[in-house]
Amino acid sequence: MASLSINNVTVKFGGLAALTDINMSVEKGERRGIIGPNGAGKTTLFNVICGNVFPTSGDVYFFDKKITKMPIHKRVAYGLGRTFQKTNAFLNLSVMENMSLAVGNKKLEPKMFGVKQRSIADKSKELLDKFGLIDKADELVKNLSYGEQRVVEILLALALDPRLLLLDEPAAGLSGSEIKVITDLVNRLPREITVVIIEHDMDMIFDIAEKITVLHDGKLIADGTCTEIKCNERVREVYLTGRAE
């Protein structure tokens, strides 16, 4: 069953077409990579999926539910989680507080306030522990290293228990070892979660993704398994020459 279906989506800003006639389908549990040069429209695609931007035409389906014009928070309630290219956490709050906000929105046991707050704290600690940030729980996010911030960024999305996780350049600005940490983190995610990842780091993409979609200039130019994409002439052209046309 398709977890995500993008049908003939076009996004125009004024006269500029950021995306033109995109058709894409991601299976449940799949690991899909999205690559393309800068300005290809990758983040716009995420924005359309998440609701930050509405398509000029076309539709988006999430597990057969039409979400094209649904407000962001409703999509999240349906199981959409997303990270941002530029760390978009709560910098002036502690790691723990960040987690609590993310965790706190799920329907936990609906009891009195006191009990609910305790469960949020426990769940948050559990997540932080699992991903190695428990020691930094009381640190303000802005005081963490960039790599740790990127982990928080991902945890904020994971804490929502998403059915579909969208990662927007999670490795941006990270060192080799930090990239390895993130890659492991993603690969350890359970199969119930569908993962779509935008990345420039090719090693990371090929390490995680099963299928890859290639965007260029707002258009989808290739779609296939890793090997197919590696051999694709058009893709090589776009990437090797680096520039458009």
Binding site: F84, L93, L101, G104, A137, L156
Partner: protein, 322 residues
């Protein structure tokens, strides 16, 4: 912070003791100081209720509502209008009516005003504030314009001391209620919206509902303050719709510490007493207000409470190293 959960009972007692002490101290004020000062403290209580409602928007949501005095003024005028027109002198009815009106007003204004954010929010609020000020000054038939509405008595004709305790009860209730609201998950969500509303969307929160409900809650507290101030002064004028009301509240929250009911109290006490004292010595209290404002913004943005926590952290740091 993660340790605090380990012993809730001790923490509760740690917080209860200062609270009880302060309540007792405040409770004996009218019995131990001249009425002038007791009246001043009553004024602090009333302003405090207003300040914490202002702070709900400022400290927790990061919104400066320069038109918040609309609710103070409306609460006050309801007292004036209902009583001087012979509609009722029953405090309960007056209070209830003022709350209902506040909710309706906030519900309508909130929809308009929350279509903006950040600085636009402040501007729009300011404009609406001015609208009400002008309205109260011009609509002579309803408000007697700048003459104001007067000639009404306090509930049960309370004298200074009785009125003090009357307001004191509201003060305590407001403190506890607002503290409960802000320390709950709701309060944390508000803070999240203040810090990064965008991300809150992506975490699945319907931020508009939170802001809207906070606006309405704040309006109710503001209205109560207005009602009490009308009774304290026994007169209501267009100045009850004036900017200085919110300006003062803003200063109080800054001086005492934003996003804190304790900070607001410290701020209210300091500001009221400071300016009462200053105005004995000079007519130029406006410039003093302005200068204090500027200094606080430049050098003491987190207020008294901010310094208190800084010092506390430093001490904790020193202790940990030993």
């Amino acid at each position: 912070m993660t340790d605090q959960i380990s012993n809730p009972t001790i923490n509760f007692i740690k917080r209860l003791i200062p609270f009880v002490v302060v309540v007792i101290l405040l409770g004996v004020v009218p019995l131990s100081v001249p009425p002038y000062w007791a009246d001043l403290v009553t004024y602090v209580f009333i302003y405090y209720i207003y300040a914490i409602s202002f702070d709900l928007l400022l400290g927790y949501l990061g919104l400066i509502s320069f038109g918040h005095q609309i609710f103070w003024g409306t609460g006050a005028y309801i007292v004036g209008i209902l009583i001087t027109r012979g509609i009722t002198t029953n405090f309960g009815i007056v209070l209830l009516f003022s709350l209902v009106v506040a909710i309706v007003l906030a519900a309508v204004l909130g929809v308009l005003v929350l279509r903006t954010s950040g600085i636009y929010f402040s501007f729009v609020n300011m404009a609406f504030g001015m609208a009400f000020f002008a309205l109260s000054a011009k609509w002579y038939a309803l408000t007697k314009g700048t003459d104001g509405l007067s000639g009404f008595e306090r509930p049960w004709d309370m004298d200074g001391t009785a009125f003090y305790y009357f307001v004191f009860i509201f003060f305590i209730a407001a403190f506890l209620l607002m503290r409960w609201i802000t320390s709950s998950r709701y309060g944390h969500v508000l803070i999240g919206i203040r810090e990064n509303e965008d991300r809150m969307h992506s975490l699945g929160y319907n931020t508009w509902i939170y802001k809207y409900s906070a606006y309405i809650i704040a309006s109710m507290f503001g209205s109560v303050a207005g009602v009490l101030t009308a009774y304290q002064n026994k007169i209501v004028t267009p100045d009850d719709y004036g900017f200085p009301i919110s300006g003062m509240a803003l200063l109080m929250c800054l001086v005492g510490g934003r996003a804190s009911q304790i900070g607001a109290f410290i701020g209210a006490a300091i500001v009221v007493f400071l300016f009462r004292v200053v105005s004995q010595f000079t007519e130029h209290w406006l410039i003093i207000v302005g200068v204090v404002f500027v200094l606080v913004v430049l050098f003491a943005r987190e207020g008294v409470l901010g310094y208190y926590y800084k010092i506390k952290d430093k001490l904790n740091g020193i202790i940990k190293h030993q």
